[in-house]
Amino acid sequence: MKASPYLVLALVLTVCFTLATGLEPRATTWSNRSKSGNVFSVLFGDGRRLFANQFFTMADVYFHSGYYPSIFDLRGDEGPKEIVAESHGHTDSPEDEIKEDFLGKPKDWIDRFGRHFRITEHTHLEHGNEREILPWLRLAADMDPQKIETYTVGSYFMRQHLNQPREAEAFLREGLRNNLDSYEILFELGRLYNENYHDPNGARYVWQLALRRWMKQDSALQNENKLAFDEITVNLANLEREAGNYEDAIRWFQAAQKVSPDPGALQQQIDEIKKKMAAQTNAPAAAPH
C-alpha cells in the first residue's frame, strides 16, 4: 500500500502539534529565562552581563568623545570609570589629567603620523551633549538590570546636565524595582528630591531608607562600602542643618566621622553648628535688655 505524501505530511503535522501542546507547559519550567519579560535575558541568558559591561564602557567612551585607551594602552591601575566618578562629584585635577594621558610621546614616525587622524585630546561632553551617553546606559540596563551604577550614572546626567528629572526618576525607580535593596539608588533618588524637586522631606525619608538598607548588609560589605555611608550621612547632616535641625545635623556629622577619610573637616562643620546654636540660645536671653 502506498501512502499519499499529503497524508504523511498531515500526520507529521498532527504529531508535531500534539507534542507541542504536551511539552509547552513543561518547557516553561525548565528554565527561568522564559519567565523574564526582558527580550535580552531570553536571547542571551546570563551572557548578557558581558554585553552590559561593554555598553557601560561605551557610555564612558562617548563621554570622552572617542579619546579612550584600547586594551593595549591599559596600565592595570585604572580606577572607576570617569562617568561614575563624575556622578559622585569628582572633577579631574591636573594630576588626574597627566595620569589619563595614556598615549604618551609618539614611539616612532608611524605612531606620530597616525596621531594626525586619531583623537588625541582629553575632553568631556558638555553643554547638553551628555545626552549622547544615554543610549548605551539604556542598553546596559536592559542587558543587566542588576548593574546598579547604570541607573545612578544615568540619573545623575539626566537631572544634573540635561534637566530631565522626571526621566531620571523613572529610570531610578526602574532600577529600584530590579534591585530592591540598593542603597546607592535610594541615595541618588534622595539627591534628586533634594536638588531637583527641592523636597527636603522626601529626600530625608529616602536617605534614611538608604541608610537602613546600608545597615542591612553584613559587616564585610559595610567595611567595603564605607564611602556610601559617608555620603548618605553627610547629605542628611547638610539637609538637617539647612532645615535648622542642628542637633540632628550634629548627630549625622558625628556618624559620618566614624568612616570619613577626613574627620577633621567634619569636626569643623560640627563646631560651626555648635557656634550657631550657642548664638541662638544667647540671642533670646540678650533680647529683654
Binding site: 562617548y62 597616525g114 530631565q164
Partner: protein, 259 residues
C-alpha cells in the same frame, strides 16, 4: 589607456548586475533606520549612536564589496576561459591587471558614494547640519584605503584559485591590521627577543590602514584633518597599492592560464 578603461567598465557593469551591493545597502539602510527610530528617554536630539552604527556598517559593507568583487575577477576569467580571447586582443597582462584594479576601485567608489549620501541624509535629518568637507575627507581616505585592499585582494587571487579563500584571508588580514596594526609597537615593547624583532618587522612592513579610519572624527564631530596629512596618507596608500599591483603582475606574468 582605452583598453584599461574598457576592462574597468566591464567590472563596473558587473557591480550593478550582481546583487551583493544591493543586499548590503538595504541591510545597512534597514539597521540604521531601525536604530534611528528608537526613542531613548524621550530625547529626540540623541544622534551619535546612529552615526556610529551607520559608519560601522558602511565600513564593513564597503570592505565586503571590495573584497568579493576583486577576489573573483581573475579566477572567473580563467574558469570561463574568457581570459584567452581577452589576452589575444592584444591586451597585455599588465593592462589586464590595471583594468581589473581600476574597475574594482571605481565600482567600490560608486558604492561608497551611495553609502555616504545615505549617511549624510540620515544624520543631517536629525542634526540639521551637513559637514560635507568632513564627509568628503572620510570617504576619500576610506576609498584610498580600499585601493590598498583591492590591490592586496588581486594579488591574493593570483596565489589562490578559489575566490572564497582569497576573500576570507584578505578580510582577516585587513581586519587584523585595522584592529591591532597600530598597537604592534606597544605589544613589541613587552616581548622578549626574537619576538620583539618579529613584531617590529611586521609593524613596519604592513600598510597602516587604521590611519584612514576617520569614523571617530565623524561620529564625535572632531572636525577636519589637515589637508596635507590627507595628501601624504593618499601617497602612502598609492605606494602600497603600486607595490601590491607590481607583485600581482610579477605573479601573473609567469602564471599558466589553464585551470
Amino acid at each position: 589607456m582605452n583598453t584599461i578603461w574598457a576592462l574597468a567598465g566591464v567590472v563596473i557593469k558587473e557591480l550593478y548586475r550582481r546583487k551583493d551591493f544591493y543586499v548590503l545597502f538595504v541591510l545597512t539602510a534597514i539597521i540604521t533606520i531601525a536604530a534611528g527610530m528608537v526613542n531613548f528617554f524621550h530625547d529626540p536630539k540623541i544622534v551619535r549612536y546612529v552615526k556610529d552604527i551607520c559608519m560601522l556598517l558602511i565600513w564593513v559593507s564597503a570592505l565586503v564589496v571590495a573584497l568579493i568583487t576583486t577576489a573573483r575577477q581573475i579566477p572567473a576569467e580563467r574558469e570561463s576561459r574568457t581570459i584567452f580571447p581577452l589576452l589575444a586582443k592584444p591586451v597585455t597582462r599588465w593592462q589586464f591587471i590595471l583594468g581589473k584594479f581600476l574597475g574594482c576601485w571605481l565600482a567600490t567608489g560608486i558604492a561608497l558614494l551611495i553609502f555616504y549620501i545615505f549617511f549624510a541624509i540620515i544624520t543631517g535629518s536629525r542634526e540639521q547640519h551637513w559637514p560635507w568637507l568632513m564627509y568628503f575627507q572620510a570617504a576619500w581616505l576610506q576609498w584610498a584605503m580600499l585601493a590598498v585592499v583591492i590591490a592586496l585582494s588581486l594579488c591574493g587571487s593570483i596565489i589562490s584559485a578559489a575566490p572564497s579563500s582569497t576573500t576570507t584571508i584578505c578580510f582577516i588580514a585587513v581586519a587584523g591590521i585595522l584592529l591591532v596594526g597600530g598597537h604592534l609597537n606597544t605589544v613589541a615593547l613587552h616581548q622578549t627577543q626574537p619576538l620583539q624583532t618579529i613584531f617590529y618587522t611586521i609593524y613596519f612592513l604592513i600598510p597602516h590602514l587604521e590611519w584612514f579610519d576617520l569614523r571617530d572624527r565623524v561620529v564625535y564631530d572632531w572636525g577636519l584633518v589637515d589637508w596635507l596629512d590627507c595628501v601624504l596618507a593618499t601617497l602612502y596608500a598609492a605606494a602600497y597599492t603600486g607595490l601590491f599591483l607590481l607583485l600581482t603582475w610579477i605573479g601573473f606574468r609567469r602564471k599558466s592560464l589553464n585551470t
